[in-house]
Subunit: 115 residues, 3 copies
C-alpha cells in the first residue's frame, strides 16, 4: 500500500498517510517568543492545516502526544486545547514534561483517521 | 470508517477505536499516594478494563509507552509489568523519564489490536 | 487478525506486526560507551534489521520518536539520521529530551508500513 507524504523535507515529513491513517510529526510554533498559550494556538492551526491536507480533521484524531517544557503550564495549554476540541469527540491523549529546543514551550504530535 | 470513543470527556477520550486498532490515552493511578509499584498496578487494571471495552486484551497490545518521573524506579515498575504480561506475547515498548503531574510517578499509554 | 512478534522476550517484543503496520520498541545502542553519534548509528542499524524482518524498510517509516538525554546533542544525532534517511521519503518525527537508562544517550522508536 502506498504512502503519501505531506510537507516532506530531507529530515522529516510533517505528515505521512498510510491505510487511511495520518501520522503527524511533532509540531512547534513558528513564533517562539509567544507564551505557552500562544504557541499552542499556532500549533493547533498547523495541525488543522496538516489534517485538511490529509483529508482528515480534528474530529477524527485518534491520539495526541503533548510535550511541555514545564508541566506547570499544563492548565494554560489546556485552556487553548479545550476550546479547540470543544464539540468534537476528543482523541486519546498523553501530556508529559520534556526538554525541547530553545524557546519551544510545547510540542504536539498526533495520529488521525482520514475520511 | 467510523470512530468509537470510550471514556469520552471534553478534553480527551480514554480510548479511541478505528479500523481494528484501539489507541489508549496515557493512564495514571487513581491513588497518587501509592508508590510506583502500586500506581503501576492500578494503571494496568485500568488498561485491562479499557481493552475489554474495546474488544481487545493485553495479549493483543501492539505498543506501550511508559513514562516514569524517576527512571530509577524502572525496576519497581517492571516487577509489576512482568507479572502482568507473563504468558502473553508482550508489545513493543519504550520507557523513559518525564515530568508528570503532582504525585504521578508513572503513566502508561498503549496501542492494541481489537479482535 | 493475527499478530506477529519479532524479538519477543518476556518483557517486550522488539517489533509487533499487525494489519500491515509494524510497531518497533524503543531501540538503544549495544555499546553505551559510544557518543550520541555512535549510539545513533548502532540504533539505526538495529532498526534496519527489525524492519527487514517485518518485510518493511526505512523508506516505509510512518513515524519515529527520538529521545535524547541532552537536547543539545540533537545536531550530532541529526547528522547521522540525515545520512541514513537521505534519498528516501522521511517519516513524521518528534525529538524530545528525556531521562533514559545509565549510559543511554539516545533511544528511537518507530512505526512503519510493511510491504
Amino acid at each position: 500500500m502506498s504512502l503519501e507524504r505531506i510537507g516532506e523535507g530531507t529530515r522529516l515529513s510533517h505528515a505521512v498517510v498510510h491505510a487511511g491513517v495520518v501520522y503527524l510529526a511533532g509540531q512547534v510554533a513558528d513564533d517562539l517568543t509567544l507564551d505557552v498559550a500562544g504557541q499552542t494556538t499556532q500549533i493547533l492551526a498547523k495541525i488543522d492545516r496538516l489534517l485538511t491536507a490529509a483529508k482528515s480533521d480534528r474530529s477524527r484524531l485518534l491520539s495526541a502526544t503533548i510535550w511541555l517544557t514545564d508541566i506547570g503550564s499544563k492548565d494554560a495549554m489546556n485552556a487553548v486545547w479545550d476550546g479547540w476540541i470543544a464539540g468534537v469527540g476528543p482523541p486519546a491523549r498523553a501530556c508529559v514534561e520534556a526538554g525541547l529546543g530553545p524557546g519551544v514551550r510545547v510540542e504536539i504530535a498526533a495520529v488521525a483517521a482520514c475520511v
